[in-house]
């Protein structure tokens, strides 16, 4: 509440000062605008943060196009290896191969999905869900990939008999694919 009133005050104040040469939104109680520093006794050279580089106005940019991830050659080979290992139920080794790929491409949601699939096959549904959620968080700009992750989450719920949650997750996957 207090902050809201304060904000209103600022709004009025800044409207009042609009056009004034010296903007001064508030009077600090201490000496004007001291810059606190954690740097006492420091020998470290500091540089100011860079201001935004573009100053002139331009058209707003269009929304970022979806960027569906792909796997690099090394990851592809490792995922293939993992799938072969998965086929013979060698879960620990399959997971190990995906982890190798993840060390190379930690931000690739496809690999998180692959790891989730290994855990799902192993019957470790909680981890499968967690890993798929990690994939969801990594694929904000990739609706197809994110849909895949939600679909997998739905399967982990279904495997645990949580049908309502499974339907929700599935709906999310479908909505993403319609985009």
């Amino acid at each position: 509440m207090r902050t809201r009133i304060r904000r209103l005050g600022w709004l009025l104040a800044s409207l009042y000062f609009a056009g004034c040469a010296v903007p001064s939104p508030y009077e600090p109680p201490a000496p004007p605008q001291p810059t606190p520093s954690d740097e006492r006794g420091s020998q470290v050279e500091t540089q100011p943060g860079s201001p935004p580089t573009t100053v002139e106005e331009s058209q707003p940019l269009p929304a970022p196009p979806p960027r569906e991830p792909t796997l690099g050659a090394a990851s592809q080979a490792l995922v293939q290896q993992a799938q072969a290992q998965l086929a013979v139920k060698n879960y620990a080794v399959a997971a190990g191969s995906i982890e190798r790929a993840l060390r190379i491409e930690p931000d690739n949601p496809l690999l998180w999905i692959e790891l989730a699939k290994v855990r799902q096959a192993e019957g470790n549904y909680v981890q499968a869900e967690n890993l798929a959620r990690k994939a969801v968080s990594m694929s904000v700009q990739a609706p197809r990939t994110q849909a895949q992750a939600w679909q997998l989450i739905a399967e982990t719920y279904r495997a645990r008999g949580k049908n309502i949650e499974a339907q929700d997750a599935e709906a999310k996957a479908k909505a993403l694919l319609r985009r």
């Binding site: 800044s14 954690d38 006794g41 500091t46 060390r103």
Partner: protein
């Protein structure tokens, strides 16, 4: 006369008495020999050396697109003891022409696969690896080199060894041993009386023991069954045991036992036994790859591992090595030319500091403690386990070097009058999988003792602030531009005292946006924020992020009066760096048993502990710590193009100096302080920050660039005031991610209606440029 008479009278008795005594002595002797025989055969047949667990670093992955240059690959191969040759024939060798490296890798049992030797051709430019092909010209998408052996978990008595099988022993080694130590080995029955007589003669003439006449079998017995006391009784026992061993076992078995048993050096508390380990210890490679001059040196060392220590007495060792080579030539084991060539070679000892075992005690301690949850101490020290750790030797050695150099520099600039040496800790992890890739436990990284990284629980000061701010963001009542009051605050404590916290500058800053309060580490604003969010919520946040113990719900925790180890700090910040997913820090990937069967894999597990949106907002604010706040100093060492996030921490009276922060691919925590907890005079920014920045700079790290979660809008605000701004209007403008439709008062001159909304995209673009 009388005597002879009496003698005659008692002759029978005396004789029978003597016979009895001899008889009993004989029986006793037989029983003794029999018992001796039983023990030694039982022990020898079982032949279970207690095999300390061997710990490997993470293997280097070679793949197209890897940033490794040809120089980096060659350095890697050299550290692994690969030999540069003109013609590729054997595993463990390579040749190089410019950016092209050809190699034959070693056979190695990884925890998930057996890697057979293969000839590979790697082409690398200064941008990284361009292609990898095998001998058939096929593309190899990914390949891992055999990992560096970094140490072993040996028992208290300190005996460490690596067993080699007979087929792994280069044939010249037993030949050289025989020539130098026991020329009659193939024919004697355990003892060589000629050699004993020769030795006795030499020793008598010199008046002291110059030469031993022991056969290899006797030496084996002495090392295997007896302690080192040199008494006459021991000598007899040794001789009998040697003969008995020869009766029961083949020469080949005895030679192999000797090669694995014998003592060949000392490394602190660790005794180097057997040629397998000695080969790693002195040359950094497996025994199978030993060359003539190296074999000769090891054989030279047998006579006196401390007297002929090639690191401490290189000249002495060289003289004896050359003597061994001469003997080998003289007895026709090698030809004279080969001996002469080998004599020209340098000793070829690897630097003890850059190589192997015992030199990463803080990290190995973490490995040991991890495994102690699943294994008994004896399993670790005796069962011959192979442990695949997460250590990255490059990151580890850079962190050690930088820490040592920086602490020295800091000691010179500090104005505190104290003789206490400054101490420091570094922990580095990979946030996405929680792997600990480096641990430095003090300025002398090879010192084995108090492991500060794990056991020094110190006050973390402002390192707690991100935890409080995350709790605040999660309530939904706060965002980066929310205004908090940095004004004096009084807190009534349970003991009726009143707590009046202060800012580090002793000043007061008035209303400030959250992002600035965090970036400039304002204490008053933070205490107010924390009290508003609630102490139980803040305490719970610690546990959510992975602190495995209770946090007291006391107001003082808001300023970091809570004792946490550097490793625990890494655990907390790892969850932030990993976008709100917690993964338990781990130092071990997998364990194999002696036969190479997988025992355990420590797989990657994640748990979502916070929503991505508040974590993203927090992390963006932590980026502002580096861009605008107490972390600015990092830019002196870290190129502007790498986006990093972090937080400094200073405990009361400057006792502890902390910096914890992360990029896209690494998290590092640095602590600087005194062991006796006395003030150092350094803040987090002046002490730990430069160390942190320099380390991050050596890691080839990538920018923090988490994707913005849905539902957040990038907006421009003034850093100082939190008022809405846009490029060209407002001062000190930054971009922050805010929940949708947050109303912000505009900064002066930025009030044109309708513009602010369209600015979201521009802000996003600016942010993207920054985080690219």
């Amino acid at each position: 006369m009388r005597l002879s008479k009496t003698l005659k009278k008692y002759r029978k008795r005396i004789l029978s008495g003597l016979a009895l005594v001899f008889g009993i002595a004989l029986i006793a002797l037989l029983v003794w020999v029999f018992l001796l025989d039983r023990t030694i055969t039982a022990q020898f047949e079982g032949r279970r050396w207690s095999l300390p667990a061997q710990v490997y670093a993470e293997p280097t992955e070679l793949y197209v697109g890897s940033p490794l240059t040809a120089d980096a690959i060659e350095l890697e191969l050299r550290q692994l003891g690969y030999r540069r040759v003109d013609e590729l024939k054997q595993p463990g060798s390579y040749r190089r022409r410019g950016g092209q490296i050809e190699l034959i890798n070693r056979r190695f049992q990884f925890w998930d696969a057996l890697q057979e030797p293969e000839q590979l051709t790697i082409v690398a430019s200064n941008r990284g690896i361009q292609s990898i092909r095998n001998a058939r010209g096929e593309d190899v998408p990914i390949f891992r080199l055999d990992p560096l052996l970094i140490g072993s978990i040996f028992p208290i008595h300190g005996e460490d060894r690596i067993i080699v099988r007979p087929e792994e022993v280069p044939p010249l080694l037993p030949a050289a041993l025989k020539v130098v130590e026991d020329r009659k080995f193939d024919s004697h029955h355990g003892l060589d009386f000629g050699a004993i007589a020769r030795a006795a003669f030499v020793n008598l003439r010199a008046g002291s023991i110059q030469q031993g006449g022991s056969t290899l079998t006797q030496q084996l017995v002495k090392s295997y069954f007896l302690d080192s006391r040199r008494t006459f009784g021991r000598k007899i026992e040794e001789a009998v045991m040697a003969v008995l061993l020869e009766l029961h076992f083949e020469k080949q078995d005895l030679m192999n036992a000797y090669i694995n048993e014998i003592y060949l050096g000392q490394d602190g508390r660790r005794a180097i036994h057997g040629f397998g380990l000695a080969s790693q210890f002195y040359f950094g490679k497996p025994a199978a790859e030993l060359q003539l001059h190296e074999i000769a040196l090891l054989v030279a060392i047998v006579r006196g591992p401390s007297y002929y220590d090639p690191r401490r007495h290189p000249e002495r060792a060289r003289t004896r090595r050359n003597l061994v080579l001469d003997l080998m030539a003289e007895h026709g084991v090698i030809d004279q030319q080969a001996a002469e060539r080998a004599k020209q070679r340098p000793l070829g000892i690897v630097n003890a500091k850059t190589q192997a075992a015992g030199y990463y005690p803080a990290f190995l301690d973490l490995v040991r403690r991890t495994l102690r949850r699943d294994y008994r101490e004896e399993d670790l020290t005796e069962a011959g386990l192979k442990i695949f750790s997460t250590l990255n030797p490059h990151a580890q050695s850079e962190a050690e070097k930088i820490l040592a150099a920086e602490l020295e520099r800091l000691e010179k600039v500090r104005n505190q009058k104290t003789t206490q040496p400054l101490q420091g800790v570094v922990v580095i992890t990979r946030p996405h999988n929680g792997e600990v890739i480096a641990v430095v436990g003090g300025r002398d990284a090879s010192f084995e003792g108090f492991n500060r990284a794990l056991d020094a629980k110190r006050s973390i000061g402002s390192l707690v602030k991100p935890v409080i701010y995350l709790a605040a963001l999660e309530t939904g009542r706060y965002h980066a531009a929310s205004i908090v009051e940095d004004a004096p605050v009084e807190v009534k404590l349970s003991n009726k005292q009143v707590w009046r916290p202060q800012n580090i500058t002793q000043e007061v800053y008035g209303p400030v946006p959250l992002v600035r309060a965090l970036a400039q580490s304002l204490n008053l604003a933070t205490v107010r924020l924390g009290l508003d969010v609630g102490l139980p919520e803040v305490a719970r946040e610690f546990q959510k992020l992975g602190l495995e113990r209770e946090v007291p719900e006391l107001p003082s925790i808001l300023l970091g009066a809570i004792d946490v180890s550097p490793l625990e700090v890494a655990q907390l910040y790892n969850a932030l760096a990993n976008g709100g997913f917690n993964t338990r820090l781990r130092a071990v990937r997998a364990v194999l048993d002696e036969q190479g069967k997988p025992l355990k894999a420590f797989g990657l597990e994640v748990t979502q502990v916070a929503d991505p949106a508040p974590v993203y907002q927090l992390n963006q604010m932590l980026v502002q710590v580096i861009e605008h706040g107490s972390g600015r100093g990092a830019r002196a060492y870290l190129p502007r193009s790498i986006v990093v996030a972090g937080k400094s921490g200073t405990s009361s009276d400057y006792r502890d100096s902390w910096f914890a922060g992360f990029s896209g691919s690494h998290l590092a925590v640095v602590w600087v302080g005194h062991d006796d907890n006395s003030p150092t005079g350094f803040t987090g920014s002046s002490g730990a920050l430069p160390i942190w920045a320099k380390i991050m700079n050596t890691l080839e790290t990538t920018s923090w660039s988490a994707p913005a979660p849905e539902g957040l809008e990038e907006r421009w605000i003034e850093f100082q005031t939190g008022l809405a701004a846009k490029p060209g209007c407002g001062e000190d403008i930054i971009s922050v991610a805010l929940p949708p439709n947050v109303e912000l008062a505009p900064a002066a001159g930025c009030a044109e209606p309708g513009v602010i909304e369209s600015l979201g995209e521009r802000a996003r673009e600016w942010w993207r440029n920054l985080t690219r």
